[in-house]
Amino acid sequence: MAVAVLVVSERLVGEVPDVTFELLGKGKELATSLGGELGVAVIGSGVGELPFGAADVAYVVDDPVLSSYAPSVFERALRAVVEAASPSVVLMSTGTAGIDLAASLAASLGAPMASYAIDLATEGETIVATSQLYGGKLLAEVALEGRPAVVSVIPGSFPADAGRAGGAPRIEAVPVAGLGEAGAQGMSIREPEATGVDITASDLLVSVGRGIGSKENLELVQELADVLKVPLAASRPIIDQGWLPKPHQVGKSGKKVKPAVYLALGISGAPEHLEGMRSAGTIIACNTDPKAPIFEVAHYGTTVDLFDLVPELTERLGG
């Protein structure tokens, strides 16, 4: 049986991330409807012991050159796997490989591609992706004809459990020549620095976004966090502007948090942010735009201006 769907396993350090199992679970379903097998591409150094989840066949590229990461080197290995497996669909996540390799892989294969998918289906031979665009404000139904259809999926879109169910996949070692000649070389991988701030350990988080407007205004929300004795968290724009250091960031490129209550102040709710906080017990969102996507995931919302609300909160909670 031919391989219908190939999932790229996206581990750089530590455990295989949840998103790989999410893709394997969805991939199994797609492979079944396309009448083929599910493959997984496992690329790295010393990767033989990693779990392959629900895959029927594992394509392994194991080379010391891959012990650290350089996109063009991994892409060369991935292309070799795609050529060996000849799948109809290639799935990656927007978390790592999808944002780094999917577009170049698809372009170099002359293959169609959809980014930011949150759902996937087949219509006969056509792959249909539902993609989140414009910061989550609009969805696009994207039809991909031509093979392979390359899709990068937003983490958290599918349950991981179905993809974990392990079988005993066939292992195919894929030899790749010239990995050292991709014009790039991985040097090192650094895990996030441990600092005094741990936003993942608090039961309550006060989190601030672009709506705060300026670095000076942060003092307002910092006061609220201080009276509550909780760390101040923030969305990506605050970190990218250099207003707060990286360990405060919630989201795809920051920390995943799961407090009992998450108070989102001036956060619009871009997919990058939602990925990091949607599992919080209770989400309370304050944003002056009633159509902000944050209200879709929040349990409670208000369109009162945060500059009016926060001092009232600080006053009530300060005593």
């Binding site: 991330p17 910061g135 014009g183 159509k291 995931v297 919302g301 006053e315 009530r316």
Partner: protein, 257 residues
């Protein structure tokens, strides 16, 4: 070091976006177009690199609504040369494959050392520009870049991959980088400087013929996400809303007051 920054216009996400009558694109008639914010980070990094190691910064864009303003702003911030590639439909949704093919055609004739662009854009449904450009040019690439250090004929980049893990690698130049964040927040250009740039820095217009692009993704339908019911809205004045939030926190045992 000669650096090219590829920038683009994008519908302002602060505004409400309507879908057009065909249901396949946003209604572009009433949308304000602004610079893609990640491209601003790419420009900032390029200007910082120029200040550190010398060289030139050329900013390249397709023909898009209000793009001249974005180009002049770049000049006011310190870009040396402004190029507008014409030939695309200025009022349409230019897909990444077409965008990259047009820019690649120009880059082949203008061999820079480094190409920087924003890591993504809010409508790049068929892939992010940096990777597609690199594939078309056969150059090394990296996305989600938060650090760039040139070193002779190579460049050392730091990428921020899932969960804040950093990957450091070296790339042979010319290379294409998708910038997530510059070493400092994008600088501000006062209106007076932008007006000055408008007088002093011409926008070179270069026509690019219609490129051949491979298998494209077809957007059959664009639509707002179905409302899931979402949040229960707390009504009233700021004081009344604050009171209700305190009550929620109290019910969860998170405050004693």
């Amino acid at each position: 070091m000669n650096i090219v920054v590829v920038v683009r216009q994008l519908a302002d996400l602060v505004e409400e976006l309507e879908v057009n009558a065909e249901g396949t694109d946003i209604d572009r008639d009433f949308v304000k177009f602004v610079a893609n914010e990640w491209d601003e980070a790419a420009l900032e990094e390029a200007l910082c690199l120029k200040e550190t190691v010398g060289g030139t910064v050329t900013v390249v864009a397709l023909d898009e609504p209000d793009v001249d303003q974005t180009l002049w702003t770049a000049a006011a911030k310190g870009a040396d040369r402004l190029v507008k590639l014409t030939g695309n439909d200025p009022d349409g949704w230019v897909r990444t494959r077409e965008r990259a093919a047009r820019v690649a055609a120009w880059l082949r004739d203008n061999q820079p050392d480094l190409v920087l662009t924003g890591v993504q854009a809010a409508d790049d449904v068929d892939g992010q520009t940096a990777g597609v450009l690199a594939a078309m040019l056969g150059w090394p690439h990296a996305a989600v870049v938060v650090g760039v250090e040139p070193d002779g004929s190579q460049v050392t980049v730091t990428q921020e991959l899932g969960g804040g893990t950093l990957a450091i690698s070296t790339l042979r130049t010319p290379a294409v980088l998708g910038i997530q964040a510059a070493r400092q927040a994008p600088r501000y250009a006062p209106i007076s400087r932008i007006r000055q740039a408008q007088q002093s820095t011409p926008i070179e217009e270069v026509g690019v013929p219609e490129p051949e692009v491979g298998a494209l993704a077809t957007v059959r339908r664009l639509f707002p996400p179905p409302a899931k019911g979402g949040a229960q809205m707390l009504e009233g004045s700021a004081a009344e809303v604050a009171e209700q939030i305190v009550e929620i926190l109290r019910s969860k045992g998170l405050v004693r007051a």
